[in-house]
Every structure is written in structure tokens, then in C-alpha cells.
Amino acid sequence: MNAEALFLSLRLAATVSILLLAIALPLAYGLAFSTWRGKFLVESVVALPLVLPPTVLGFYALVAMGPRGPLGKIWQSLFGHPLAFTFAGLVLASMLYSLPFAVQPLVASFESLDRRLLDASAVLGADRARTFWRVILPLAWPGVLTALVLSFAHTLGEFGVVLMVGGNLPGITRTVSIDIYDRVQALDYAAAHQTALLLLLISFVVLSIVYGVNRRVWSPWPAK
């Protein structure tokens, strides 16, 4: 088994899920509570990675990150090296790819909150920020956990996008799924199986956590 590839994948998934949460929280808050009429457009953009083939997403990400792409140019001028085929580039593309997996559980959990609790918070003198930290976030924690875990698992298993924007550089962009593909190409089925089985187990455990927690969503505190 390729420990280097596995470690890289875990590092990528952890970075992506944490950075993504920081972006998804305000985005989900806006989608859940805003009454703006053009909201559906943002919803569509967020859901796009669900239906696009990873190669299409990866292709545009690659073009944008390339030396002549807008993102690539900005990156080059800021850090003095190209963005494509680097770990940072992989993180950016993966965040885009996993965006709906972070945003949608958050929106769902925000929308299921009793609005009267938010009203009560406002009437008791809390501004929006205080309401968010003291009421919304603590009550929507299963949604937050689901968002974290799903974006982690989804990033861990991605293949097409990584191949397009990351290539296959050992220790930098060669993730487990690429490694499995390589082993199969080299007819080393035993090694491929080892890694594949590990990935299967990790995914199963992670999803069990999500479903286990969500089973208790409606009664996280002593029964009424």
C-alpha cells in the first residue's frame, strides 16, 4: 500500500473540509434565511458539481488555474509560482467539487430550525451574530458535522478532478484513488485491492457516523 498517497489524500480531505466549512456556513445562512428572489441562481451554482462530470469541472478548473487563466495569473503574481499541478490547486478544485456536500446539509439543518427560536433570540436583544453563535449553530450541529464528514469523504474519494488539475505527482498530487488506478494499470491487483479496501472501510465508517448522528437529530436532548 502506498502510505504516501494515503497520507496525502487524508491531508487534502481534512484541509478541504475545514476550509469549505468556513465558506459554506455563511453561504448556507444566506440560502436558508434570505428572501432574495434571485436565490435560486446561487442554489443552482452550488448544486452544479453534483451533475457535472468531474472531468468537465476539472477541465474548467485547469483552464482557470493555468498560467494564462485568471486564477493562475493572480496566484503567480502573489506567490511567484504556478497554481496548476500543486497541492494548493488541488485544494481549490476539490473545494469547488465538494461545495454542494458542505452547503446542502447546512441549509437543510438551518431551514429545519424553529423560526420562533430565532425570533425569541432577537426579541431578547441578540443581534444576528449572537443569534447565529448562541442558537443557530448549537442547534444545527448535526448539519455541521454532516457537512464536514461528507465533504471529507467526498474529497477522499475524488478522481476525475484530481487527475485533471493535479496530474500524478508523487507526494504532491498523487492521491489514493489515482494510486489505485495506477496499480490497476500496472496489473498489481493485490496492492490496488489493499488500498481500495481501506478506502471502502473509511467511507463506510464515515457515513455510519453521519447517519448515526442524524438518527438522533430530533432528540439530541432528553426525551420530552
Binding site: 424553529d114 420562533r116 427560536l117 425570533d119 425569541a120 433570540s121 432577537a122 426579541v123 431578547l124 436583544g125 441578540a126 443581534d127 449572537r130 448562541r134 442558537v135 448549537p138 442547534l139 439530541p220 436532548w221 432528553p222 426525551a223 420530552k224
Partner: protein
């Protein structure tokens, strides 16, 4: 003094749009908002709290401006210094009773927060379970916590939206006593929404009736609710019999007028009102205000004695509802004991006895 003059229209599918149109002043002390469901009572409270925006008008508390549509001003709810107890109570399920009560005191030093929370908890008799979560409380305890959480902030206006529904009357009385004591010590405008006649009588300073988004009447509970002036209100105020009637003649010397009920099926006397002979009106009579006799009674002061036949007998808990056809159909409430003593059963001939002043003219 809280002054409200607002208008808010709600779009509805096809049907006539619902319009809330209220102009009212609320003095310190209790004002009971009474009316059928869907009359706009909760919407009115939401507008005062700033949780919904009226389309037009203004709201101010003394010289503090809450809302002014003309100047496009609306103070956010958190700056209105008011307290609002929702029908659902909306206690924070993830916080303890003490944390719930302290929630609105975030800006005070912790020592003062604790002191105030403990004082109000003692006042509302919930000091023994400050560390419990709302889910571990009984219904009455939750209601006390919601009131304590609202009042601990020392609001300048108190909005209560059916805060005591679902409680038995003993518990309701005890909480109302605490609330009344609080009101005596802190004179602020209190708007109290309820459907419950018993609560109205217990609080009873002023009643304002809201029907179809408009203020219909205001005054003392006795004047407003015992003489309902609209059919919706008559039903909401617990008048089971609201019968169509036509004024036959006025008898000013007796202080009464005669009306014929239900297309001239029978005639009764009601207190003299300002409806001319020939006018179509409605007469509201409480089912509990009608007496049943199995023989023609004599020597009674009651002026309306109608012969009729019992059509159905239905036991509803500690009360029996009779449907009696006496020209018009009357719903009559009697006790199970009366049913046994008089052997009341369907088909029996009876006389209904109705005092003139139990009959109320409704427009």
C-alpha cells in the same frame, strides 16, 4: 403608552386579501386581545415586536419610535426593549433554565445576570430546577420559565400570545396571580392574546376585540364579551346559539323588543336594541343560559318560555348537550344529574326558559 396605527395586506390565492388594519393605544396594564382565530392577533403582536413589517403606518412607545413607514424607519426587534412570549414559548432546547433566563441579559456583568435570574426564578417559583433543560420540565413549568425569561429583561412592553394554553385552570390561575403581582409592581403596557374566557375574566382590565384584521370593540370584558356585536365574536366568546331573527316590534315601556326566530318559527323577547322593526338581526344565547323544564313553569320572571321537543342528548365530559327543537333549534347545556332527575331523552316534550337578558343582539 404604546401607540399603533398600522396596515398590512397579505396576498392570498384568489380569495379576498386579508388586511390587518389597526389603530389603537395601549395604556400601562393589561389589554386582552380577543377574537376568533385568524383575526390577526398574532400578526399584530409580530408587527409591534418588529418580526413582521407593516405596509403602512407607525408604531411608537411614548417618544421611542418603533416603526414609521413614511420615513422608512423600522427599529430592529433587538432594539425595541420589549418582551414577547410566544404561543409555542420558544424556549432554547439546548440551554438550561438558568441559561434561558440569562439569555436576554448578555450585556450585564455576570454577577448581576445571576442575581436577576435567581430573583425572577424565585418570583415565578422555578428556582428549584434552574439547571434542567426545557425538555425535562412540565407544561406549567415551561410557561413559567418563558415568562421569567421575558420579564427578567425589564421590558417596556410585554406581548403575550396565548401563553397559558394547554394548562389546567388551577395552574392557569396560579400563574395569572404571579403575572398580576408583577404587573402591579411594573406598570407597562401588556398585550395579552387569548381565546379563553376564564383568562379574560381573571385579568380583565380592558378587552379589545379583533375580527378580520380590524378592531371591533374595546372596553371592559363585561361590556364587550357579554354583548358580542358580531357573529364571529359571538362564536369566539362562547355563544353556542347564534340564530337569525327579524325584529317584530319595540316595546320601549318594557325595555324590550320582540323578535321572531328562524323564519317566524317562534318569537322571543330580547333587550331593546337599536334595530328597527323589520330589520334582520341575529340573537346570541349561551347554551348554559337556557333552562329546561318538563312541565310548563309558572310564576317565573323569565319572559321566554318555549315549548319544544328534545332531538338529541349527547354527553360531553361533565356536561350534557341537548339539541331542542322549539321552533328554532337550540343547543342547551345541562348537567348529567339534571338528565337523570328529569329523565331527559330524545322525543320528550320540554319547555325552554330563557331570560330576556340572556339574549344578545348581534349584527
Amino acid at each position: 403608552m404604546l401607540n399603533v396605527q398600522i396596515r398590512k395586506q397579505f396576498r392570498s390565492n384568489g380569495a379576498q386579501p386579508f388586511v390587518l388594519d389597526v389603530t389603537a393605544s395601549f395604556a400601562p396594564g393589561f389589554t386582552v386581545l380577543f377574537g376568533p382565530s385568524g383575526a390577526g392577533k398574532s400578526t399584530l403582536l409580530d408587527c409591534i415586536a418588529g418580526l413582521q413589517q407593516p405596509d403602512a403606518g407607525e408604531i411608537h412607545l411614548g417618544d421611542k419610535l418603533y416603526f414609521d413607514a413614511a420615513r422608512n424607519l423600522s427599529l430592529p426587534p433587538q432594539c425595541r426593549e420589549l418582551a414577547y412570549v410566544f404561543q409555542s414559548l420558544a424556549l432554547f432546547p439546548h440551554l438550561s433554565v438558568e441559561q434561558n433566563i440569562r439569555y436576554g441579559l448578555g450585556k450585564l456583568p455576570v454577577s448581576e445576570q445571576i442575581e436577576r435570574a435567581h430573583n425572577i426564578a424565585t418570583e415565578f417559583r422555578i428556582h428549584n430546577f434552574l439547571s434542567r433543560r426545557p425538555a425535562e420540565l412540565s407544561g406549567g413549568e415551561k410557561q413559567r420559565v418563558a415568562l421569567a425569561r421575558a420579564l427578567v429583561t425589564r421590558p417596556r412592553v410585554l406581548l403575550l400570545d396565548e401563553p397559558l394554553t394547554g394548562l389546567d385552570s388551577v395552574l392557569r390561575r396560579s400563574i395569572l396571580e404571579d403575572l398580576r403581582a408583577w404587573n402591579d409592581a411594573n406598570r407597562i403596557p401588556i398585550l395579552y392574546v387569548t381565546h379563553n374566557r376564564e383568562e379574560v375574566d381573571a385579568i380583565g382590565e380592558r378587552v379589545m376585540t379583533l375580527v378580520n384584521g380590524r378592531v371591533q370593540e374595546s372596553g371592559t370584558p363585561l361590556a364587550v364579551l357579554d354583548a358580542p356585536r358580531s357573529v364571529e365574536l359571538a362564536h369566539a366568546a362562547g355563544f353556542e346559539n347564534v340564530l337569525p331573527a327579524i325584529v317584530v316590534e319595540h316595546r320601549p315601556a318594557d325595555g324590550v323588543m320582540r323578535v321572531s326566530l328562524d323564519h317566524a318559527a317562534c318569537e322571543i323577547e330580547i333587550p331593546l336594541g337599536d334595530a328597527a322593526p323589520g330589520r334582520e338581526v341575529r340573537v346570541a344565547i349561551r347554551a348554559g343560559d337556557i333552562l329546561v323544564a318538563t312541565e310548563l313553569p309558572h310564576f317565573l320572571s323569565a319572559r321566554n318560555i318555549l315549548p319544544g321537543t328534545i332531538e338529541s342528548v349527547e354527553t360531553r365530559g361533565a356536561m350534557v348537550a341537548l339539541c331542542v327543537k322549539a321552533g328554532a333549534s337550540f343547543l342547551v347545556h345541562v348537567t348529567p344529574g339534571a338528565v337523570r332527575a328529569l329523565d331527559l331523552s330524545p322525543g320528550l316534550l320540554v319547555w325552554l326558559v330563557i331570560k330576556t337578558h340572556s339574549c344578545h343582539l348581534v349584527r
